[in-house]
Symmetry: C2
Subunit: 317 residues, 2 copies
């Protein structure tokens, strides 16, 4: 299928927004940013064999490629609007492209995001997405705003995606609930928007909780103590792994795309209200300290717990 047919195939399936002056089909898209807002831009690529196994269902690849980008906007408290897509494909497989678009556009519709441009090229399977959103000036959630004494909060549960990956790497069947977290992560867009004006700092958990919080600690020049017994785990994760392995997955596993944020202790009731409104568990997992740049994982007895492996390993060893 020539590139131009492929682009037409994509163009006929995307939605519309009033602020898209010109979408797919010219040398570039023309967009009308809302007056008085800042533009928030994130870009993330997923490569076959690195970020997902090549045999992953195309719909899941499409979903995840957009989800990881929307998660970055969520971590800034931005409302998503537009995206562009660069799709590198080794061959011409219309069924694959249609399946990819099923997942990609399903998530786009959910968040009112319109695909406005990009390109398609020949090459090893790779998906690059750029997303655009808006936030009021000075209101974006950043990594550098954490303050000593803040609570540290986490949405949902962590470790699930890494649990599925661990099973996959061991050649075991993946637990369905864990695999679903790995293949179709939920970007916490509504939560990010709700945290504007409330959270002091925010990040999404993509590389692993400890590694991601280290970025917050460095950027904010603070320390972070996490209370390991408080880390929320899904039932599926608790069923599938022994306690120490579960804790390792929670503390260091990536790809969950939950939001981790800090907020003043005076905001606990407000955070609880947001959790209730969004029907999304928000768990207090730690405290911001003055130990600049230092993230500690504390066991129930207050001693420091060192995970057996730092950071998150992707597919392909």
């Amino acid at each position: 299928m020539p590139e131009f047919d492929l682009i037409a195939r994509i163009a006929q399936r995307v939605g519309s927004r009033g602020d898209v002056v010109l979408g797919i089909g010219d040398d570039a898209a023309i967009l009308q940013p809302p007056a008085g807002q800042h533009l928030v831009v994130a870009m993330d690529t997923l490569n076959a064999g690195v970020h997902f196994p090549s045999e992953t269902a195309p719909g899941d690849i499409g979903w995840k490629a957009l989800a990881v980008n929307l998660s970055d906007l969520a971590a800034m408290g931005a409302t998503p609007a537009w995206c562009t897509l660069s799709l590198s494909l080794p061959g011409s497989d219309t069924a694959w492209v249609d399946g990819f678009l099923d997942g990609f556009l399903e998530l786009a519709r959910t968040h009112g995001v319109v695909l406005v441009g990009g390109d398609t090229t020949r090459g090893p399977l790779s998906v690059c997405v750029t997303v655009h959103g808006f936030v009021a000036p000075g209101q974006a959630l950043r990594r550098d705003g954490a303050r000593v004494g803040d609570d540290v909060w986490l949405s949902g549960t962590v470790g699930d995606a890494a649990g599925a990956l661990t099973q996959w790497n061991a050649g075991q069947p993946m637990t369905a609930a864990l695999r679903d977290r790995l293949d179709r992560p939920t970007p916490r867009v509504a939560l990010g928007c709700a945290l504007v004006g409330l959270a002091d700092a925010c990040i999404d958990v993509s590389d692993g909780l400890a590694a991601d919080l280290a970025h917050v600690a460095v950027a904010s020049n603070v320390g972070i103590d996490l209370h390991c017994p408080d880390l929320p785990a899904s039932e599926a994760l608790a069923m599938a792994f022994a306690a120490q392995e579960q804790l390792r997955l929670q503390a260091t596993g990536g790809d969950d795309y939950e939001l981790c944020f800090t907020a003043p202790t005076a905001s606990r009731a407000a955070v609880a209200r947001i959790a209730s409104e969004l029907q999304l568990p928000l768990t207090r997992i730690g405290t911001v300290t003055s130990a600049a740049g230092q993230v500690r994982l504390l066991a129930a007895d207050g001693t420091e717990w060192l995970p057996p492996r730092a950071g998150y390993e992707h597919f392909a060893g």
Copy 2:
């Protein structure tokens, strides 16, 4: 080199602009679009072995990855401002990355463009860039504005990049001047901006003159007659190829990134003034006709010339 070190290495070399509220280093960039302007967004990927030979100098890859994107903005008449970069690398080679940045940032500085974000991943060598620019509402140059009776104009010369590619594919040494056009194309940014309010339609020559003008013809529901003897050729191209092969390269060769635009005949003096001001040859190469969707290449005697091969073939057979 871990990803975070690589990002820091990139971050310390990028420039700044007053409208970049937050650049590299958080989950997303925060940008301040100018009031009352439309945002123009383009995204293009270059894959090793497809868009350039793997052994291409890293500085040339960096230059070209940004150039092809700026060319898309130029074709819209937009003033470039920001870009994001997703770099997939098979290994950790700081010298390669430094060389890549040399070329990428040299071109960025030339146009006052600041790199504000993106990501780095492991994978087959691939460079995806998204560029952002501005244009006054309703003023963008589009493919769908050509009018019957318009002149068709072309900047610079065409066929040079394809000439170098033809030499490379034949295992011959590349003529230096042709190779330079292939490796370091010049995006016609100033020309695009100067054409706002003057050109009826515009496109950049990336896939080949005939193929690109076919997009204009279809989008504008017009025909285009090109006068082959008027197509401008560089001295290097004329020296390196026989007449028929030269014409084939000019009419169907891609990757030159010149602008091709249509304008009313009453604007000929204005076009000449722009050519003089920019010191960039602008050549009248044809006419817009009423033969909807049809691009014809006419020989000196008025008969139609059919190129031996339509469209542009990239690297890798």
